[in-house]
Symmetry: C2
Subunit: 420 residues, 2 copies
């Protein structure tokens, strides 16, 4: 089954927002075995929307339209669908009533603007569905031989329709074919090195397939298998995933698609030890990531963000000799910061991150220099490296390296040496 | 001038990445007065790429293609351009040499794979340019009546070609028409309330136009004017921007497109006072945002992330009576945390953030409850509210509210009351 996504909205063409809806939809369609073959984006122009819908219906089995279902004069998707279907528009009294009820629930003052009633219009022959969120009724129609689903562009409403209606209906239609994916996530090894290690495994394999996705400080390897049944797909996947894991070794931090911070919190729980941080370079980024995981407070006590030399001295107790000698971007300072965090928060494990984010050098350290350190009763280890890229990238690499250092310590793995 | 963006890459159709290139390109094209009328995304399939290029060239003056210029067998954009141009492919010895030189610079081992030489192929009649980053030569060709620019999909390489070649060439061609935009950024007021206040101003205005963009805890109002000259566009813009600012009042935190953290750091510098934070709910997010700004250390000392009650007591000195009485999600606790941060870091101003991010209630506080507080010699003010949405959203709203509380204090504005 082939699908095409048509996003409607001038804000996309003006670059005010990225088409993240298409990404989310594509990912979830791929997971149930639907091939997404094209994306289109058109502005709030009824003729262009009609042309886009006709083109999509001519080459896809399913057309998914987002945006342009709201109440304003710019919302033209309903009209375009009616024109493409060559169907008259019919106003539905029960939809009018639902819109009035929803509006009364939202608003504390006044009555619904008359324009909102446009949302009660449905092209003849189409069916509609009412979302729990928002006020824009969803439309389902046949256009040529294709099934067309139209939904609001608001991400939460789009996801609601996808989950409640589109994905179940399409999964039922693709019935008989199951797709299963497994994602292995890797820290401390670059994308090209990962691909080289795995190259021959996938040179001749079209099922399962492999895809690499590199983001800052991390590589994801996604294996995808198709089979007549879910268990068949899983049987294709399992031996390959095991082989990938064997070849890559301990740089794989999870094969369950957990984030690195989730893995660290899970390992802390398994070991029954608590973590605190001392952050200079990353400014609180590691704390923010760890506390983004529900329940983090059981194993993460906090982070002392000490951005200045004075704060490192006064808050973390770094000696003036360290600040004046090796300086704030040094392994002695990082180790003292990790110990300072342990002491301040009373935790078993301390992680410290310092460095020079750039664009300027910091206390003699080149921009991009990162020092991370882990301290506990049985470890005192620091690692220095130089990251390329801008400030944001350097900070993100530092977060990954710091969390991965804790992960390796907790798993009893060899700790990485300095490379700068 | 009409432009169309064609992104090539199966990874986009699988939902592995969002088409953020199209967003960036669209934004920068709009700024020089180029109308982007369509986006297309196609996979790594030569026939479909040819069809997409033909369609784009039939309806646009400029076609911008991203992706598919790399060295692997999946990189088919070069071939598709040659087919669409009906031109033979010519291998350029000087490109071969450049590729070999670049490869030698990247690699410490071995010689360049023969497949990489595909990147030295250029359709006859097209011109090529060599990027500073990466190895994929850019292509510029005529296709029908349209000018086609093809560039790598790697964001950094795309931006390099856009800045060095595409935007200057197109700006020269649009000569005579200038577009200027101004963005006002707003905290503490919702999108629909902002739109209501400004409604009549824009009801009949097509130049300048207005666009609203709401993200978590913030609304952007973008005014865009077109005129024969830059100064003409600015003259159209200025009175309207002033009127918008007058109507909205002190919820506008900047009219220079600075982030809220940049505004706070600027105001701290203007007042000559330093800030520290105590973060529970946000876990370091405020510190990470402030330290994301180069030079932050002059006015931001650090943040004590105290995620547990014990850390609040031991690190920030919160009294056991506060922890046992009003509890960690309370205005007395937030005020004590702000004072604790001031004391710990020795700063003039302290900001505290606590609350219940969800999904579970926290110490009796409903999920979404946020308490922020600011303390200095001349202020002790706390604000409580309830944010809707998931954990990430609640945390982001808390960051905005906390930073905006400091902003309002530093500007001498009335501080918002509690609303929960």
């Amino acid at each position: 089954m082939r699908a095409e996504i048509v996003a409607v909205g001038t804000e996309l063409l003006l670059g005010q927002i990225a088409n993240t809806n298409a990404r989310w939809m594509s990912e979830h369609l791929a997971a149930i075995g639907v091939d997404v073959v094209h994306h289109q984006v058109v502005g709030d122009n009824v003729e262009r929307i009609v042309t886009a819908l006709d083109l999509a219906a001519s080459r896809a089995d399913v057309v998914l339209v987002t945006g342009g279902l709201g109440p304003t004069g710019d919302d033209l998707t309903r009209d375009a669908i009616a024109i493409a279907m060559k169907a008259p528009m019919v106003r539905h009294p029960e939809l009018e009533q639902m819109l009035r009820d929803k509006f009364a629930g939202f608003s504390t003052s006044g009555s619904m603007p008359a324009a909102n009633l446009r949302q009660a219009d449905v092209p003849e022959g189409a069916r509609y569905l009412m979302p729990e969120r928002g006020t824009a009724p969803w439309l389902v129609a046949m256009l040529g031989g294709a099934t067309l689903y139209a939904m609001a562009g608001v991400p939460g409403e789009m996801r609601e329709m996808m989950r409640r209606v589109v994905l179940p209906e399409l999964a039922a239609r693709t019935g008989g074919q199951a797709i299963r994916s497994q994602v292995l996530r890797i820290a401390g090894m670059g994308e090209s090195a990962v691909a080289e290690v795995l190259e021959d495994l996938f040179a001749s394999s079209s099922n399962p397939t492999v895809a690499y996705l590199a983001s800052m400080g991390e590589v994801k390897v996604r294996l995808t298998a198709k089979a007549a049944s879910a268990s068949g797909a899983e049987e294709l996947l399992a031996p390959l995933a095991a082989e990938v894991r064997t070849r890559l070794g301990d740089v794989v931090f999870t094969d369950r698609d957990e984030s690195l911070e989730e893995v660290v919190l899970r390992l802390l729980g398994e070991r029954g030890v608590r973590l605190s941080c001392a952050e200079s370079l990353t400014g609180g980024g590691v704390g923010a990531r760890l506390t983004g995981v529900p329940g983090a407070s059981a194993w993460f006590a906090g982070s002392a963000v000490a951005y200045t030399a004075e704060a490192k001295r006064d808050v973390l107790g770094i000696g003036q000799d360290v600040l004046d000698g090796p300086g704030v971007v040094s392994e002695p300072c990082a180790l003292a910061m990790a110990e300072g965090a342990r002491r301040l928060y009373g935790t078993e494990v301390g992680l410290a991150l310092t460095g020079a984010a750039g664009p300027e050098p910091h206390q003699g350290a080149a921009p991009g220099t990162v020092v991370v350190a882990v301290a506990a009763d049985d470890v005192r280890h620091a690692q220095t490296f130089v990251s390329r890229g801008d400030r944001e990238r350097v900070r993100r690499w530092a977060e990954q390296a710091g969390l991965d250092l804790v992960r390796r310590y907790l798993e009893g793995l060899p700790l990485p040496p300095s490379s700068a």
